[in-house]
């Protein structure tokens, strides 16, 4: 078992980050232009990092698969971004944000990382305002805040329902300035297909130009992956269609450890699946649960009826019944599981019986339709666009959906992988959210990593790199040849099934066996079936066209091939983690009243997986989580 050194600085929690900055190696401004950095991904983490590193004087190349850096999926985040500003004078502090995040993550994240995140959160808001992000304001001109799940203070900053968009456009504008200044070279419509490792260090990437098909090598002193999460392994998720795990999975195959892949977040309020054609799922903001009441019929026989025909006493407001003190505002993981339970009992509503009502009729009769429209009008409009139903008249139908992934590539306190020279930021790493992420914390982490953490830690690695590696190095030639062979193999199968049909099959299987609830049996079944899907994929997929052209089928094929392998690792991780925590709910491990039952004695650790070659079982390494400041406790929301 490899020694996983998280390189957490010594000293008291609140001094670690400042001490680490002081102890870090520096590169003087005149020398920075001699160092080159590759950044893959242009979302909040990658875009902010590329812009900031360019501004500092490093030579940066930034890659994204979209047609512009502005389209990264960070753009879709609705609700807001947390920061410990305590502008509301309501008792917030860095320590409270730190504590809420650790507890929300079900005590499965690193204290030092989370504390640092809370510490830099305030600077993120300053930075974004300076870049022109139009956050919501009060009439006095000061910034407005709202509350979010898992917190008792108002610390969430927002820009209408488009916070992610505005933060991303802020980072994109900073990136644009660097592109104009010549410090960042941007490569849109370019997909990373492999990582190049030279003498044990990540020194570059192999990419495919998605317009011409040209496969080329790029060398640098260090590689930064900010390529997002792997939620699309389930096929249906709230992620963008292009989101994929290829960059992190191929880095894993080159020696980077993948940590906690079984931690996936299922968001409770999404528009339900309505048919086989469905290509993605749409989130409805959690804020709706402030005024909407969740219910299903008490009796299965009533499920087919129109909701108005089901009298009050025949309805089961199950969240209010089971969690009287939190009611409809129970946390995400718990609300999602409760919805699944009632549907499993046959009491779900809508097509396929996979849905529950989110009913605003009480709020409308109490407050009037106008007040409800003022608060949630845009969400009701969006709901009507997609479903064709008017939620002022009939209750919304909602169901949980895959939303975010807490697992990712293992990184140390410097955000560097066990594979030297590889840095990983944002959702692509595993670091800060433990087993469950709190609302409005993903934006915070992406920007913290990109604007403030990596720019201060990357020099620790760069300062040790005097030898320059170029793309002429034989390792680049070799890796490039492997990528070409891989692409040719995909194109040469010419089978009978489409890429999407495999993706759907895999997604359904994982949702069924490794979704909201997992058991030893379901996971073992999945491990039996996934190799069969893989075998059929590699013998019967039909990828038309050539490499030397714009070929969306080919792009998808490579991603789905990686999802199949990634899914297997996720299931393996879920099988080995014999406890329930946060988003990972093993049905065997629950309290008598159906809540997640952690096993701190045996599982208060990070599981980091090492690739050991095709066909071999990966090796599970452990990084113990040492809690020096916080006492582990049971999360209760009753």
């Amino acid at each position: 078992m490899a020694q996983l050194d998280a390189k957490i600085p010594s000293g008291p929690l609140e001094k670690k980050w400042q001490k680490h900055i002081f102890d870090s190696k520096l590169i003087n401004p005149a020398n920075r232009r001699k160092y080159s950095i590759i950044v893959v991904g242009s979302g909040l983490a990658g875009g902010a990092a590329a812009a900031t590193l360019g501004d500092m004087g490093y030579k940066v190349k930034c890659f994204c698969y979209q047609d512009s850096a502005r389209r990264a999926h960070s753009i879709a985040a609705q609700g807001g971004i947390n920061a410990a500003k305590n502008y509301q004078n309501d008792g917030d502090s860095v320590y409270r944000l730190f504590y809420d995040t650790i507890k929300g993550g079900d005590f499965r994240s690193r204290e030092a990382n989370v504390y640092r995140l809370a510490e830099v959160s305030a600077s993120i808001i300053d930075q974004c305002v300076a870049l022109g992000v139009p956050f919501a304001r009060e009439y006095g001109g000061l910034l407005a805040n709202r509350s979010f799940g898992g917190a008792q203070v108002s610390r969430t900053f927002y820009a209408r329902g488009q916070t992610g968009q505005q933060l991303l456009l802020g980072a994109y504008s900073a990136l644009s300035r660097q592109i104009a200044a010549g410090t960042v070279e941007m490569f849109p419509r370019t997909e990373m297909l492999d990582l190049v490792v030279v003498d044990g260090h990540a020194k570059g990437i192999i990419v495919r130009d998605m317009v011409t098909g040209e496969i080329s090598s790029h060398a640098a002193d260090t590689v930064v992956l900010a390529t997002g999460g792997y939620g699309n392994v389930f096929y249906l998720s709230t992620n963008a269609k292009g989101c994929n795990a290829t960059a992190i999975y191929r880095a894993y195959k080159r020696g980077a450890f993948l940590a906690n892949p079984c931690y996936t977040q299922i968001h409770p309020t999404c528009i339900p699946v309505s048919g086989d054609y469905q290509s993605k799922l749409t989130l409805m903001s959690e804020s709706l649960r402030n005024d909407g009441r969740v219910w299903v019929p008490k009796r299965k026989e009533d499920c087919g009826k129109h909701p108005s025909e089901i009298p009050e006493d025949a309805r089961d407001y199950y969240l209010e019944r089971k969690y009287p003190s939190f009611g409809n505002l129970a946390p995400r993981d718990i609300s999602s599981r409760a919805a699944k339970q009632v549907c499993d009992e046959g009491r779900g509503i809508g097509p396929g019986g996979r849905g529950v009502y989110l009913d605003f009729s009480d709020a409308i009769s109490r407050l009037g339709e106008n007040v409800v429209r003022e608060r949630y009008g845009n969400l009701f409009d969006m709901y009507e666009k997609i479903t064709g139903e008017n939620a002022y008249k009939v209750p919304m139908r909602i169901y949980p959906a895959v939303h975010y992934t807490m697992g990712g590539l293992w990184v140390d306190y410097n955000l560097m992988s066990n594979l030297p020279g590889l840095h990983v930021l944002g959702e692509a790493n595993f670091s800060d959210h433990g087993a469950n992420r709190l609302g409005a914390s993903a934006l915070m982490q992406g920007l913290a990593d990109g604007y403030f953490v990596l720019p201060n830690t990357i020099s620790n690695y760069l300062a040790t790199q005097r030898e320059k590696v170029t793309a002429d190095h034989p390792e680049f030639k070799k890796t490039e040849a492997e990528v070409r062979a891989y692409v040719d193999r995909l194109l040469s199968i010419k089978g009978k099934r489409t890429v999407d049909s495999f993706h759907r099959e895999l997604g359904l299987l994982l949702w069924d066996k490794c979704g909201m609830g997992r058991t030893e049996q379901s996971l073992k079944e999945a491990l039996e079936i996934i190799p069969k899907i893989r075998e059929e994929f590699w013998s019967n997929v039909n990828v038309l066209g050539t490499n030397e052209s714009f070929n969306q089928s080919l792009e998808k094929a490579g991603r789905v091939a990686d999802f199949i392998d990634f899914g297997e690792l996720m299931v393996r991780d879920a099988l080995e983690r014999r406890e329930s925590c946060g988003g990972h709910f093993r049905e065997e491990f629950q309290t008598p009243d159906g809540e997640a039952l952690r096993d701190d004695e045996n599982f208060a650790h990070v599981a980091a997986w090492e690739y050991t070659g095709e066909g071999n079982a990966p090796v599970r390494h452990i990084e113990p989580l040492n809690y020096e400041n916080i006492k582990l406790a049971v999360r209760s929301y009753k």
């Binding site: 902010a48 900031t52 501004d55 047609d67 512009s68 850096a69 502005r70 389209r71 999926h73 753009i75 879709a76 500003k85 600077s123 300053d126 930075q127 974004c128 300076a130 870049l131 022109g132 139009p134 919501a136 304001r137 009060e138 009439y139 001109g141 000061l142 820009a159 209408r160 488009q162 968009q165 504008s173 900073a174 644009s176 300035r177 592109i179 104009a180 941007m186 849109p188 317009v211 963008a240 269609k241 309505s274 048919g275 054609y277 469905q278 290509s279 993605k280 749409t282 989130l283 666009k385 997609i386 064709g388 604007y451 403030f452 489409t498 039909n542 038309l544 052209s549 714009f550 969306q552």
Partner: protein, 251 residues
């Protein structure tokens, strides 16, 4: 429902394109326009025909990647709606639907319905930013901004950069897009130091990229999925007039 599609097919920028007819059969009314194209593509692949290439990503109306002319209207018949949020219930069984790419000299076709919109990025690079080094900014509440200014800035900042405004404009003008960014930043105190440089450079880059001028058709506003108001064009003209005057006077 069953539909007839007449889809623009063009292998690449250098080869002429043409309309090709496809039957879309058994399309559920609940599905989105792009999901309808997914179904057609699955069918085409089954027949070993190259699927229709189109841009898309978030499929929830915010990333700005989807871009189709549907029966001659950018993003189709629904107001304030991107193509990905357009659903098939707005069409009738037996309809004939024409699907084309954005057409503008500054947006060359890459393949079929996919166009190159990097001209927008170049305009942004010319000045669509506020210079603020990470680590330098003062406390976020040190400069109060009146709510109505912040709201007006947000109205303009809501632009998703899809390019529908250009596609809808008979002059292929990008002034709604540029006006939105110039307005957003000019309305905020943080945007003041670079206000003049910004508008002059962005307009210059816009002209060089081959976008036309505005002659008040307002087609852009009619198709904009983010409901950007044409008043941003008036503001752009005002900002540009003042800005170029100041620049020529060396101010």
């Amino acid at each position: 429902m069953n539909l007839t599609l007449r889809v623009w097919r063009q292998p690449n920028a250098n080869t002429p394109g043409k309309f090709v007819e496809y039957e879309a059969k058994g399309i559920p009314t609940e599905c989105s326009f792009l999901e309808m194209l997914d179904i057609v593509n699955e069918d085409l692949i089954g027949k070993n025909i190259d699927p229709i290439a189109f841009d898309h990503d978030c499929r929830e109306g915010i990333c700005g990647m989807c871009s189709l002319m549907i029966n001659g209207v950018a993003h189709g018949p629904e107001r304030a709606t991107t193509t990905c949020q357009l659903h098939m219930r707005h069409f009738k069984d037996g309809d004939i639907i024409y699907i084309e790419p954005w057409r503008a000299a500054a947006f060359p076709v890459i393949k079929d319905l996919v166009v190159d919109r990097t001209a927008f990025d170049r305009i942004q690079e010319a000045g669509g930013f506020i210079t603020a080094r990470a680590g330098s900014p003062p406390d976020a509440n040190s400069v109060p901004i009146p709510k109505q200014n912040a709201d007006a800035a947000m109205d303009a900042a809501a632009c998703i950069g899809c390019g529908a405004c250009v596609a809808a404009c008979p002059n292929s003008s990008a002034m709604l897009f540029v006006g939105a960014k110039v307005s957003h930043l000019a309305l905020l105190p943080q945007g003041q130091p670079e206000r003049t440089r910004r508008v002059v450079k962005m307009v210059k880059t816009m002209d060089q990229a081959g976008f036309g001028n505005c002659s008040n058709y307002y087609e852009c506003e009619a198709v904009c999925p983010a409901e950007i108001n044409v008043s941003v064009i008036a503001r752009l003209n005002r900002e540009y007039a003042l800005g170029s005057l100041k620049e020529s006077a060396g101010l």
